[in-house]
């Protein structure tokens, strides 16, 4: 079994990028801790919000990769029914998950801490819209670009999207917070 092949290099390099991206997002979190602490129940939203991009865009990239390998998606043409359908689905899923995250955070905050913070319903939705406008089109473009260059997007996109999503999510949450509260 030849373990150290091209796939290994792809996964390792994407994990290193993911680690770097995660550390950038973590540093942003640490730098803006004071502002983030002003967001009510931020830690109720944060893990789910950071994880969401891996779940939504990661599976989006995976579906695109399967389509590309099977030949049902043409690597030279992005404007097809399958790609457009996937894109719409990813946007809808991101929006629905953001709404649910807000509602769950609001409920937990009310039940466990006895606080009714209505901004919790709005902040994840605005942040979700801002982040999805950036992350989802980037997922599409990078998946196609990697496939055209002869890489397996399955090996790279998961960690890459997770790290990209982390950085964008933290910034989007800060922007949403400043729009709603400040």
């Amino acid at each position: 079994m030849h373990v150290l092949d091209k796939g290994f290099n792809d996964i390792l390099s994407s994990q290193i990028v993911s680690l770097a991206g995660g550390l950038v997002a973590g540093t942003l979190l640490a730098l803006y801790t004071n502002q983030l602490l002003l967001i009510p129940a931020i830690f109720l939203i944060l893990p789910g919000f950071l994880e969401m991009w891996g779940n939504v865009s990661g599976t989006f990239a995976s579906r695109l990769s399967s389509g590309l390998f099977l030949g049902v998606v043409n690597p030279q043409r992005m404007h097809t029914k399958a790609v457009a359908g996937n894109l719409v689905a990813a946007f809808c899923l991101a929006l629905v998950v953001s709404v649910v995250l807000g509602c769950v955070a609001f409920l937990f905050n009310r039940i466990v801490f006895g606080l009714s913070t209505y901004q919790l319903l709005v902040i994840p939705v605005i942040a979700g819209i801002i982040a999805s406008v950036i992350v989802i089109p980037l997922t599409l473009i990078i998946t196609f670009a990697l496939f055209r260059r002869g890489h397996d997007p399955n090996n790279i996109m998961g960690p890459l999207i997770t790290s990209l999503g982390d950085v964008v999510s933290v910034l989007a949450l800060l922007i949403a917070f400043s729009l709603v509260i400040l």
Binding site: I16, T33, G48, T59, S66, F69, L70, V96, V112, G158
Partner: protein, 149 residues
């Protein structure tokens, strides 16, 4: 010919978990490529691509969100202590994303193998899958060493 049409109609109506065996059966019987059959099932002229994806993904995504919020509840309870340990705050996104990254690699590679019909019989005996797990284990060890530096 009628038989082929009937089979294709049956494929369009079939639920996802019955999808693969039928594709392989039609492929063997009528010599239609698996790629075409995949296309017929998933992205045929009468299928609604976003609806199919949303229908399949929504439940598990909602479950994942609620589960993450439960994790967040624990963090929220130690909010002040947590933010006072800065290295933990910096490592939060890394730790949050690391396992998800490995999971996505395994699931996407395995689903591509299933779609291409490369996994037959006992999946745990598949050499490509075994190799992937060994690769991920080696990479996980390297990444752990790197992140603790």
């Amino acid at each position: 010919m009628i038989s082929v049409r009937r089979h294709l109609e049956k494929l369009r109506k079939v639920k996802r978990h019955h999808y693969h065996p039928l594709i392989h059966r039609i492929h063997r019987k009528h010599k239609i490529s698996r790629k075409t059959l995949f296309y017929v099932k998933e992205y045929g002229p009468h299928s609604n691509v976003p609806r199919t994806i949303i229908k399949e993904s929504l439940k598990i995504l909602l479950f994942a969100s609620i589960l993450s919020s439960v994790g967040g509840l624990a963090l929220e309870q130690i909010r002040v202590l947590f933010v006072s340990i800065i290295p933990l705050v910096i490592l939060l996104p890394v730790l949050n994303g690391m396992i998800g990254g490995y999971g996505t690699i395994v699931s996407s590679r395995f689903s591509a193998m299933l779609h291409e019909g490369r996994v037959r019989g006992a999946w745990w005996k598949n050499q490509q899958l075994k190799k992937l797990f060994v690769q991920l284990f080696v990479i996980a060890v390297i990444m752990t060493l790197l992140s603790t530096r």
